[in-house]
Structures are given as structure tokens and as C-alpha cells.
Point group: C2
Chain length 428, copies 2
């Protein structure tokens, strides 16, 4: 049996302990599959006294993850601390400089520094793998980088934040407003310390930017992701969408257009009977479309100890088997595909607004739409008891630019009550 | 740029031409991803004069695939001829003997000779990859062998014959009997020359046996797959199942039990609102369950030129990148997990029968069930115009052995009209 592959695990939170548990529980199985043992040499976390639900007595302990990254008895630096800056970044850079391969679950780190890290790793002949950074236990990085490598990828879509999907699904099933379900999710411990990371779409946007780089050969460009969170999704919209056979999902979409890569992370409407529409709370789904393969749908747990540790271990076992390839599927220095300044891919849009119930109000709205170059596919005016009229419009395909022009025009009509809502209907 | 990886493609049917098209259309993209060019040196098919929808003029031509397999200018032998014996087997053996790696789409070959081929390839330091052999474009071999390598796999399920899924789905949506839809499928060209391969579950059983070997560390054991085709599924059963919120699918299930690996390929009932239940027409779905990852669902096109060629090219690009591992995810000589003589994992079962409408008939059936150790979960007797009574029973969890005992007992009661139907309700 060849030499063991020796891990240094930085971060002993949920995921780190999950990795320890798998290495301990499945030592024989992993050795059989990897062709060599996988062992843990050392671990790192600040507080050594904390009770961690795993026997760590056999491992060296480093308080400083940078010291862990430089240990001579570590072949692979497993970074499961999180955070785009500070210790996670310093230790990852130190690991590469010290000639270690890296397995990381850190989407924020790669979304912000992935290009620089990949370039330095590749210059040093080192490998960075990050299956656990995107969609938890779903092997989507592997599927995209390896399984579909013969395809020109045409679109990548995903529901990649289980908390947002839980909130939207629960709003619908229980008929509760956003604020109530948000508070429930907080009490259940589903939200990040900074909930904007979840409900603002930032966490999911990080993941989308990583998938987009692999799919389309661009540098990771999180700053170019058009982000819109779920904070403004109302129970009214969820109900009206359901009436039309649609569901609201926080959906990430990346696609290549004539103007370059477009990336959006926003609440979108999808058919209720599509795989995305049928996705229940807490779960993740990624849809990959390629010119040869057609549409591949992957579904599974997007977070949690077991699923995330499973993804880390898939990467570790790949390294033990000698699988080596560039971080984003081709040399980082060749990632040169164009990135669009603004997403312009057209789609149908859902518009909901409340009008003052007086003659000519609807005509004014229709005029604004026409002047914005938007034609109406379907329109419904709902019954109402007071002096306001709820109106729902589904447009034909149009761009977000045109929608924004129309929204500005609506405001100038003087017939609107409150703010209109505009949601993209993503064709799936 | 390193040396190109040189392919020899044996078989120029739909899949072979699909591979040629991808290599030609995406040469630059593949070279960027693989780190080296992928080229075709030579091809093989019997009839050189046939019009094949691709320019083959740049490639050497071998009538004999064995000669192709031995060519000095071939690094990877791509076997897309099909058939478990004859030319496909001889040429694959010749390729391994000549020191070539092999990429194959041939499920029958591997289901029957996979163990011997893997052993000889591994002894020679060669690699056999077969993503295209199972579920077309869905990268399920890669997901199971690599992505989930840190998991003890607990169950593998799949709808892996698109033709059967088309037939069952179409029967339901159009309300047509099996024979009519079978004939439609034949006229649409969906069926193999020997349709038993499809509707008898043999093709899907081949695929299941390959997944089971990887998942559970057994030798490929197609002969141990308990096979039941869809020929006896009636429109009545499809309707009654729908009434109970269930769908009938030709479902492959492999799971490890205390008695060893169990493999079944049979019409099963699954919840209509589960991913398997929602799977439309010609599509494939594989469900993988692991102790850490939980449940992963993969969905996509299970056949067709593009999807199958995509899977072949994923394997080819892996080889170009230097990815090498044993055929079934661990050395073939170590595949020693036990295989059960007979599937005994219990499940609820659906029983449909027609009884003579006379006093005591139902009591006799209930007595037989009790004597077979089967308890009743739900029972319905349907209205009827003649002197027969359609009865539907859902049992509590029981084994197929007990069901078979009960079926024998029913026959002895003298109150049955025709043959009863028994279908497993697979918990998903």
C-alpha cells in the first residue's frame, strides 16, 4: 500500500468535525477506494477546550492555521474555517506557498480571491479543489468540470441557498408573510450571523460566480453578479404566482451572450411542475445545460455536516488517487472569456402593482408599457373591496432595461399605490 | 502543449458519430480543458460506403475493430459498437492487451465480462471508463465512483431505460393499454431490435449491476439481478396507483443487506410527488443514497447521440488530463462483498385482484394474507357491474417471499378471476 495522504484540517466547526468523523469511520473503505490510506496529521482551531463531538486526541494541534498549513506532515490543507479574508485567506496562501494541495469549502474566499489563488497554485504545481463550496453534497463542480467537459455549456441555473428556499417554500405552504418566516428561520438557526448573506443572495451569488467561471471560462467575477435578495418577495406574489402555475425561487442564472457572461441571482418565477418549481425547502438544485448533453438536473442537500463533509472527502479522495487539474477546469491564466457589464438576456416578466381605482388608470399603465417597448402576454385585474385595484401583468419577452424604464414610467403616472413588483420568469 | 491524446473509435453508429462531431466542433475548447489536444487517429465500421453525417476523411479506416485496437497511433480505444460478445468483446480485449486505455458505452459487455476485463486492464496498468454505459448523459458513474467516494452507499435507485419510462408515462397520460403504446414506441424507433432488452428490463438491469458494483464493492453480478419487465403492467394498475397518489416506474434498486447485495429491476410504485414519480417520458433518473451525503438525485437524457457522446467525451477528457483509477472504483481483485441469493428487503406491496362476487370470497383472501404473515394497510373494493369484484390491497411491509406465498395461496382459494398483480411500493 502506498504512503498515506496526510490531511491538516483548519476549522473544527460543523464541517471540520464532519470530515474527522468520515476519516475515522470509513478508514478501510476510503483506503480501498483511494488506493492508499487517508489520515489526519493535525487540526487547527482557536479554542482547544471546546467539546467537539469527535476524538481529536490522535492529532497534533495548531492554534494558528498558517502554522498548520506549513507543517511538514501535511500533504493536503483542508480549509473549512470560512470567511473571505483574515485567517482563511492567509492560511490558504501559506499552504500553497508551502507546496500543499488545498481542499476548501470556502465560497466567499474563492469568489473574491479565486483567480489569484488559482494562479499561484498552478504556478506552484498545486491543486485547489472546492466541491464543498457550492451546493453542499451535490457534486456539481465535478459534474461541470469533468463530466460535462465535452460540452459548450449554454446555461447554468441553481437554487443554492437552502435557507432562502426554506423561507419561500414555507411562506407558500403556511401562507405566512416574509417577516414571520424569516423570524422562524432565525430561531431555527438556519440563518448566517449576518442574514444578508443568505436573504440578500450574497452566499448564493458567490456560488454562482464559481460555477460560471468553470462553465464559461471567465475569471471568477462575483462583483458582476446582479444580486437581488428575497426580502421584498411578498406572500401576495407567491399566491398570485401559484394561481398561474408558477413558483418563486431565489434562482441563480449564468449564461453566455453576445456581450459576454451574464450572471443574475434574483427571485425568479419558474413553472411549478418543473424540477426547480418542485424543489422543496432546504434542498438545493443545480441545472446544467450543454450543447451535447442537453439538460442535467442535480438535487440534494446544500448544507449540513454530512453533505458538506462528503463533498470535502470526495475532493480529498480524488487527490489521494492522483487526480489533478486546474482549479477552474483550465489554466487560470487562460480564463479570458468576456463578462457582460449588465444582464440583458430577455425573458417574460411578472409585474404586480396596485392602481388607484379610477377611470384611465389601467390605460396609463398600458401606455407606459407600450412606450417602453413591452407587450403584454396576460393581464388580470383582481376583485377588491377598497378604492385600489390589484393588477397583474405577464409580459412577452423583454429585457430588464425595458422593465426598469417601465417601472420609472409607472411612478410618473400618479396612479400607482405603493411600489410595483417585477419578477423575471426564467424559462426552464 | 503536450502531445495529443489519440482516439480510435470503433463503431460509427449514432454514438460514434456523436463523438466525432464533438471532437471536431470543440477541438479548442477540449484542448483548453484537457491541457492537450484530443484527436481521432482512426475509426472502424464494417460499411465504409454508408453516409454518416460527419466528415471522416481525415481518419484511417479499419474494417476490423481488433486491428483498430492494436494500432500504434491509438492511445484510447473508444468502443461504441455494442453487444456483449463478438467483435466488441474481442476488440476490447485486444485493446487492453495492446496497452490501450478503453472508453466504452457498452453496458452489456461490462455487465457480462466487466470483472474479467477490469482485472486484465488493471494488471496491465490500463484504465476502462464507461460513463456512457449507464444513464446516457448523466454523469452517474463519476458521481458514485468519485464524488461520493467518502460515503458508505446505502441504496442506489434508478429509472434507466427511457423507452420503458416513455411507455409507462404515455399509458397514463393517454389512457392507452400497454400493447398500443408498445406498438407506438416501435414505430417511433424507440425500441431495440430485440424489444425484450428494453421492456424486459434487461438493458436497465445491465446498468444497475454496474452501479451496484461501484456502490457496494461487489463483482458485477448481472445474473443476480431479479428482473421483471413492464409487459404485464396494465392501464388499470396505472389508474388505481394514480388514485392512491402513486406512479408505476420500471425501477432498479440495489441495496446492501445483512445477507449481501440485493438487486431488483422491476415495476415499482413510488409517490407521485417524489422526484422519481415526477419523471417524465424518455428521461432517466438515478437516486444515490450515502451515509453522509443523504440523497442525491440526478436527472437527464438517458440516451441519444448528444448525451451519450457527451458521456464518452467526459471519460476521454479525464484520460487526457491523466485521471486514472480502477474500473469499478477499487481494484477489481478486491471486489469481494457478498451478493444475496434472493432479494428479501421488505416493503409495502400493492395487490390487485378480481374476485368472484360471492359471499366469503374476500374472507378467503384475507385468511391467505394472514397465513402468509402479511397484514393489510389499506383495502378497497371497487364498484362493478358484473359478477366479479375488483379488489385492491396495500399491505404493510412484507417480503417478496411472503407475497409469493400469498399469491400461491390465492390461486388455491378458487375465488380468483384471472391472475392477481403484485407490485412493490419502493420507499423513496
Amino acid at each position: 500500500m502506498p504512503d498515506p495522504l496526510r490531511l491538516g484540517i483548519a476549522g473544527l466547526g460543523t464541517v471540520g468535525i464532519g470530515v474527522v468523523k468520515i476519516v475515522q469511520a470509513h478508514a478501510d473503505l476510503i483506503a480501498a477506494r483511494a488506493g492508499r490510506p487517508v489520515v489526519i496529521s493535525a487540526v487547527s482551531a482557536r479554542d482547544r477546550t471546546k467539546n467537539r463531538d469527535a476524538d481529536l486526541s490522535g492529532y497534533a494541534w495548531e492554534v494558528d492555521p498558517v502554522a498548520l498549513a506549513r507543517r511538514a506532515d501535511v500533504d493536503v490543507f483542508v480549509e473549512v474555517m470560512g470567511g473571505s479574508e483574515g485567517a482563511a485567506r492567509a492560511a490558504t496562501e501559506a499552504a500553497i506557498a508551502a507546496g500543499k494541495d488545498v481542499v476548501t469549502a470556502n465560497k466567499a474566499l474563492l469568489a473574491h480571491h479565486g483567480q489569484a489563488l488559482a494562479e499561484s497554485a498552478e504556478a506552484a504545481g498545486r491543486v485547489i479543489r472546492f466541491e464543498a463550496a457550492v451546493a453542499g453534497g451535490i457534486p456539481v463542480i465535478k459534474t461541470l468540470t469533468e463530466g460535462l467537459a465535452g460540452n459548450r455549456i449554454t446555461r447554468v441555473m441553481g437554487v443554492m441557498n437552502g435557507t432562502c428556499n426554506y423561507i419561500l417554500t414555507r411562506m407558500e405552504s403556511a401562507g405566512l408573510p416574509y417577516e414571520t418566516v424569516f423570524e422562524e428561520a432565525r430561531q431555527l438557526g438556519y440563518l448566517e450571523a449576518d442574514p444578508t448573506l443568505d436573504v440578500g443572495g450574497i452566499d448564493a451569488g458567490h456560488k454562482l460566480s464559481l460555477l460560471a467561471s468553470i462553465a464559461f471560462g471567465t475569471r471568477v467575477s462575483f462583483d458582476a453578479v446582479e444580486l437581488e435578495g428575497i426580502e421584498r418577495v411578498s406572500i401576495d406574489d407567491i399566491r398570485l404566482a401559484a394561481d398561474m402555475g408558477l413558483k418563486i425561487k431565489l434562482l441563480g442564472v449564468a449564461q453566455m451572450t453576445g456581450r459576454g457572461l451574464e450572471q443574475r441571482m434574483s427571485p425568479c418565477l419558474v413553472p411549478a411542475d418543473s424540477p426547480l418549481g418542485q424543489l422543496p425547502g432546504g434542498t438545493n438544485m443545480v441545472v446544467l445545460e450543454g450543447d451535447s448533453v442537453g439538460q442535467i438536473v442535480l438535487r440534494g442537500a446544500g448544507a449540513g455536516q454530512g453533505p458538506t463533509a462528503s463533498a470535502v472527502m470526495g475532493d480529498v479522495i480524488d487527490l489521494a488517487r492522483g487526480v489533478r487539474m486546474p482549479t477552474f477546469g483550465r489554466p487560470a491564466t487562460t480564463l479570458d472569456a468576456a463578462i457582460a457589464a449588465k444582464a440583458t438576456a430577455p425573458a417574460e416578466h411578472y409585474l404586480r402593482m396596485t392602481l388607484q381605482d379610477k377611470p384611465g388608470a389601467l390605460a396609463k399603465i398600458a401606455t407606459v408599457l407600450g412606450e417602453s417597448g413591452i407587450s403584454i402576454n396576460r393581464m388580470r385585474q383582481y376583485g377588491h373591496a377598497d378604492a385600489t385595484a390589484p393588477v397583474l401583468i405577464v409580459t412577452h419577452k423583454t429585457t430588464r432595461d425595458s422593465i426598469d424604464r417601465a417601472l420609472a414610467g409607472f411612478a410618473a403616472t400618479g396612479v400607482m399605490v405603493g411600489e410595483p413588483v417585477a419578477l423575471r420568469i426564467e424559462p426552464v
